[in-house]
Amino acid sequence: MLQIKDLHASVEEKDILKGINLDIKAGEVHAIMGPNGSGKSTLASIIAGKETFDITKGEIAFNNEDISELNPEERAHKGVFLSFQYPVEIPGVSVTNFIKTAINETRKSKGLKDMPASEMLKLIKQKADLLDIDRKFLSRSLNEGFSGGEKKRNEIFQMAMLEPKLAILDETDSGLDIDALKIVANGVNKLQNKDNAVLVITHYQRLLDYIVPDFVHVLIDGRIVKSGTKDLAHELEEKGYDWIKEELV
């Protein structure tokens, strides 16, 4: 589904990614772990199409199509979803109105008409129930005054509504207490199936107890230096990142 080959990227002439290779197939859950500043969030943003970064080398293919020249919205229309580490506030725009716009814009890109209001409401209700989201929450302004947990739950709600092919969860566990973490992880698990894939980006192993990865990759200084199964995550939790760094030397 997602194939990244020898990806190099920089911001303001500073190299952040130095040759990433990653192959994610439908039905898989991958996790990328790494210390602060290793380039994890940059990778997530670049896949989603954030334009602050320059791709200096390599390619990103999504379902066998090079997407590196596409706008973020075009990538979204193809089924790429990024759950943000820091979701932005949009005052005066309700959660419902926002997701309605997102869905209809995506439909428009496929030549479909707006989703009928009744169908939309049904879908919203269904997905809100799935994630234990209170109806009142849906009429609040997007992320305005939301707690950390509410913001992340809202991200997963949007993911549930949009049903992406590839969901990238960027530090979705940060700022969450254990209950909120369980709800969010539970939501992700319910949405996971053989036709979609999840890329979890995290600093800690904690989230991976709930969203169990098929593969774990360690990103250090812009390179994936080690890949393995979920056991690797436990090992990292125990020993930290230093032993890998030492292995590299």
Binding site: A48, G49, K50, E51, T52, I55, S68, E69, L70, N71, P72, E73, A76, H77, F81, L82, F84, P87, V88, I90, P91, G92, V93, N97, F98, I99, T101, A102, I103, E105, T106, S109, S141, L142, Q158, L162
Partner: protein, 482 residues
Amino acid sequence: MAKFTEDDLKKDLETKEYEYGFYTDIETDTFPKGLNEDIVRAISEKKNEPQWMTDWRLDAFRIWQEMEEPEWANVTYEKPDFQNISYYSAPKSVDPNKTLDDVDPDLLAMYKKLGISVDEQKKMNNIAMDIVVDSVSVATTFKKTLSEKGILFMPISEAIQEHPELVRKYMGTIVPKTDNFYAALNSAVFTDGSFCYIPKGVKCPMELSTYFRINEGGTGQFERTLLIADEGSYVSYLEGCTAPSRDENQLHAAVVELIALDDAEIKYSTVQNWYPGNKEGKGGVFNFVTKRGICHKNSKISWTQVETGSAVTWKYPSCILKGDNSIGEFYSIAVTNNFQQADTGTKMIHLGNNTRSTIISKGISAGKSQNSYRGLVKIGSRAHNARNFSQCDSLLMGNDCGAHTFPYIEVKNKSAQIEHEATTSKIGEDQLFYCNQRGIETEKAIALIVNGFSKEVLNKLPMEFAVEAQKLLEISLEGSVG
């Protein structure tokens, strides 16, 4: 990958052309340019006015000659040459005795282009419309339905003929001839406008609407609106404006006077979309407008405005809260783009006891525009327990525009309670990326953010207008991407 930066955003915003910038070729009857007593007399004569009206105009003209154009507003522009303007322009084919069915098909086609076909409006929207093209009111619809309730809704020129006692009693009482430079000018040369009277205890069953449009080049539009809500009555009034694109600046100096007698309520909504000039700042309408209302006991006046057009706007819809327990409200969205300048706000003058006022102002600036809120809250010495709440929010797009707030507060009574809140925010790349990531393209994202920002005010507009206003916000701010 095309990197979408604030510079691109700025470019997008610049490229949107004025959608109503067409000119309808209709034969017109236009006065020679220039202004003197003879022109004032000629206007009065053309309108077949009684002597008292002619005298009133001449008096205003003499006052105007002694006055100077105000310079305190936060706007810079080349002052109009008042001798280079034609003060009367009427579509030639208009005959005051005509009915709607006889209206020039070209004119009707123009309305259709504007999306305000009279027929459709009549049938579908339950709105009574009085349309002013240049200076003469062309068609008044729904007159019959209204007259059954005793409601008078007609061009002011007609009211001067048919209801001189009401016009004489109220005109100039809220905005006197001496009020300011443009008001004095308007009093001398106003050519048409709307008149409305709601009798005691009558709730007007429909939204009353006027659509103004400047067509002829080199003409000024000086309309005058007088709206009287008698005791215990209610009316909601809508006003919309557009003008064709022209290189030269066109002057628009209107006066609106509202009178809310005891227990009456007036809701006055404006969507102003005069031509803003091109993206280099050439052309566009100078919109210098005086709007004011007076509230008697237990009455309420609510101004709602969506200002997206004009090269320069100078406008402060105000309320004089004279009667005890009266209420004044001002809800405003002002959008400026390219080289537009707006200096707009309100005055809430509290004179009666227990008077309350609310001000919600939303300023949106893009391009190289300057957007100022200027407001006065004044509490008189005898106004006990007056309350005011003001909120001024500014939204900036790009790095070359400006947002300014000038709140004036004068309190002469210790029992007053006044609150003022202000915020300034900017549409950032992060917000746009977030929307893009959810599949929402940049143009739509800006519209969404702006609509969210303006929601409190948009909600105050009547339904039909709110939809139009939302569209207008999108037109004014979005660029046609690609």
